[in-house]
């Protein structure tokens, strides 16, 4: 598949303050791509560079082969955008805002627009200033989707939405992806990224630290085995076995938590020599991965800085 969003070496600073540094990634056509990072990591800067609201210091960003800065007008015909902090004319109603932005886009399908409004249970008759944060978010999301854009760029899209609307919005994202259109969404809500996205990029302090399929990023080769024994066991008997990346004792020496990569055969055979009470294995959640990349320990981050 061709890359609909192609970012190479994108760098932006605000005077002496770091924005993003040498950010590169691609989003394939029809893909739902999640962009993860904590506050201030550079997610919004990246998105605003894609939307030509900021001008890059270095590097290039392309959408559908068009340069995001030079060809911004053409790109905006292809893109729907939901900013992270909704700020609109407070005296206009939701309906007026949607109609205004619809006109600026050259018109939208009114039936589809009404459908989106109904699905998110938005009351378009109220003024923007009277909306709750969640309802403001709904206006922003509806306007981003109402013209059926080829690429949807969403900055923290579910912030302020209640669980029901989050769920409904997730279905909308899924539909966009199934129609062959692309979604680039930033978030720090890992569960929604895990649920909606096929690939994910993690950004930390302005730099991409990991990009890959959600499954790959979750690093299924690396998992944990927890064994509880009836008696104390020496950790040394396990930590040099094939497939063991790390071992630590728990439960006063009665338990072992092993970080694994590869086959567990050697571990199972070694454990069989002791009285085993229980044994469990689990994959790391995206949350675990995410936290690992954000450990204060720079070494961990450096090790993780690779594209799978």
């Amino acid at each position: 598949m061709a890359a609909i969003v192609d970012v190479e070496g994108l760098t932006k600073s605000y005077g002496g303050t770091r924005g993003i540094v040498d950010v590169s990634f691609q989003v394939e056509e029809g893909e739902v791509f999640g962009f993860l990072g904590p506050n201030g990591a550079g997610k919004t800067t990246t998105i605003r560079l894609l939307m030509a609201l900021l001008r890059a210091d270095a590097g290039v960003a392309r959408i559908a082969g068009l340069d995001c800065w030079r060809d911004s007008l053409a790109i905006k015909r292809l893109v729907g955008y939901a900013p992270g902090e909704p700020s609109l004319d407070p005296d206009l109603t939701g309906g007026q805002i949607l109609e205004y932005l619809g006109h600026l886009r050259g018109g939208v399908d009114q039936a589809y627009l009404r459908q989106l409004i109904e699905r998110l249970d938005l009351d378009p008759t109220r003024k923007f200033r009277q909306y709750s944060q969640g309802n403001k978010r709904k206006v922003i999301l509806v306007q981003a989707l109402m013209h059926r854009p080829r690429v949807v760029i969403l900055d923290e899209p579910t912030s302020g939405l209640d669980p029901l609307n989050q769920h409904e919005f997730g279905r909308m994202v899924d539909e966009v992806g199934r129609e062959g259109r692309s979604v680039f969404l930033s978030s720090h809500v890992l569960s929604e990224v895990e649920q909606w996205c096929s690939r994910v990029g993690i950004i930390r302090e302005g730099r991409i630290v990991r990009i890959g399929d959600v499954a790959e990023v979750k690093d299924i080769k690396r998992y944990q085995i927890t064994i509880l024994f009836a008696a104390r066991v020496p950790a040394e008997a396990f930590d040099r076995l094939d497939g063991v990346v790390g071992a630590e004792t728990t439960a006063g020496g009665h338990g072992l938590r092993l970080t694994m990569q590869g086959s567990a055969d050697a571990v199972i055979k070694a454990a069989a020599q002791y009285p085993v009470v229980s044994l469990s294995s689990h994959e790391p959640s995206l949350e675990d991965i995410f936290l690992r990349y954000y450990e204060a320990d720079g070494r961990a981050v450096k090790e993780a800085t690779r594209v799978v």
């Binding site: 609201l53 007008l73 700020s87 007026q96 109609e99 006109h103 009114q110 409004i117």
Partner: protein, 549 residues
Amino acid sequence: MWFSSIFFRTLHSYHVAIAGWGIGMGLVVLQPLAAASTVVGTAAGRASLTQLASAFAFNAAPVALGTVAGYATWKVGVFMLIMAIWPLLAASRTLRGEEERGSLEVLLSVPRTRARVALEKLAAMWTALLAMAALIGLIVFVGSQSFNPGFGVGDALLFGLDLALVCAVFGGLALLISQFTVDRRRAAGWTATLLLVFVVLDSVHRLFPGTEGLSRLSPVYYYNLSKPLVTSYGTSLGGMLVLLALTLVLSGAAVWLFARRDVGGVVPLPEWLRLPRRAAPRGRALPVDDLSLRGVYRRSLAMIAVPTFWWTVGIAGFAAFMVAGVAQVEKTISGLATTGSVIKTVVEKVGGGNVQTNATLLSAIFALLPVLLMAFAVTQVSRWSADEEEGRLELVLSTPQSRQRVLLGRFAALTTATVLIGVLTLAASAVAAAAVGLKLNGGNLAAATLGIIPMGLLVAAIGYLASGWLRATVDTGLVSLLTAIWFFISLVGPELRWPDAILRLSAFYYYGAPLVQGLQVTSVLGLVVLSALALAAGSWRFAGKDIAR
């Protein structure tokens, strides 16, 4: 210390305003003090000044005009009330503005009562006004020592205090009004309108005898009861106490209402004062079919419509009022023809003609029209900058509209509004002149009223250009300062016989005196070309800059 309490934190945020307004207004008073000796130095000058003052009665009551302090007090007159703009804006921002930004909720989560939060903020504003008053007083006293002004430091400080008190009244009024409005702009707009109304109301009794009762309704009347720099006239303790009482009543009412209403909400008006609700049923909310939503220009026009209406009322109303006022003093003006005084020269320089004509004096007064339109332009520059800074342009710029188109659409709407103000000012002046039987050259009247349009556009274009680099508050401050400097040059330049090269630095030089001299085509074209260049540069800059958040 500055972050130890709400009071100090708020006061700290006012330090630039204290210095700017204090020094600026001090210099405004110092200028006529410096120029006074050339005006009141001769018997003929003093005589003509007395006659002239009655014609300019809208500005201030003439008291001891033959003295340096009397001349300066009369000269600065109503212009000093421009300082009321600061408390008006500060008070609108202080509670309502913070509610809009959401920062007040955090502040009200600390263990302090709402009343205390409001009072600490109010106290900071009053302290700032007192600091401005002290600065003005000290600058006026120290700066005037070489002119033998005849007043002491106490008188100068009382002069500042009187000004601070009337400003505090308008601050309290803005704070009270902001309890009823959903945003700070409306509160500031209503208070500014009332300020204008009160200024006019105060001047009525000086123009039309027997109307003093009407003028007493205006706080400005009580401000003018004191003329502390004129020691023979002195200070009206009663007048100051009325201003203090008004400040306390208005501010107290505002704090009382604030402590009882919903945060983020407004004090509900009585049913008969409320606008009828026009909420459309949800199912029929779309399409809205509103013509104003069909493009950036139309939307910008709709955004600017309400302020344009009020500014038109103010500017056209002022022009019509002055035309009627000049007709009242027609005889006085004609008396000036025989004096050959310095004042005659001054009027002729500012007014640009011969004092024998009504047009000359009216021309001097009409010099304020471009200032008013430029002030309107400044408010719109501020709105443009703030819209960008607060992210309101972000979604518009995410649609397939080029940045230039968005900027030029907004500017085109502003141009439409300024043209409308100019045309309606012409119509109002012409109707007023016809109504009172004042003979004016129609072509020149058109040149004087329509000539203000390029002045407003020039300020707007410079503001749009500067917004490419500056934050909204700095941008607004810059164009305000530029307008003030230009006006200052045009006001004092002719009087102090400054070289032509300096006078040419002011945009008002190119406005000239069209009511007397007719349309100066080259000058007007020059202003238009300069505006176009500034707008083109602003558009180029906007197309290439980072959009702020």
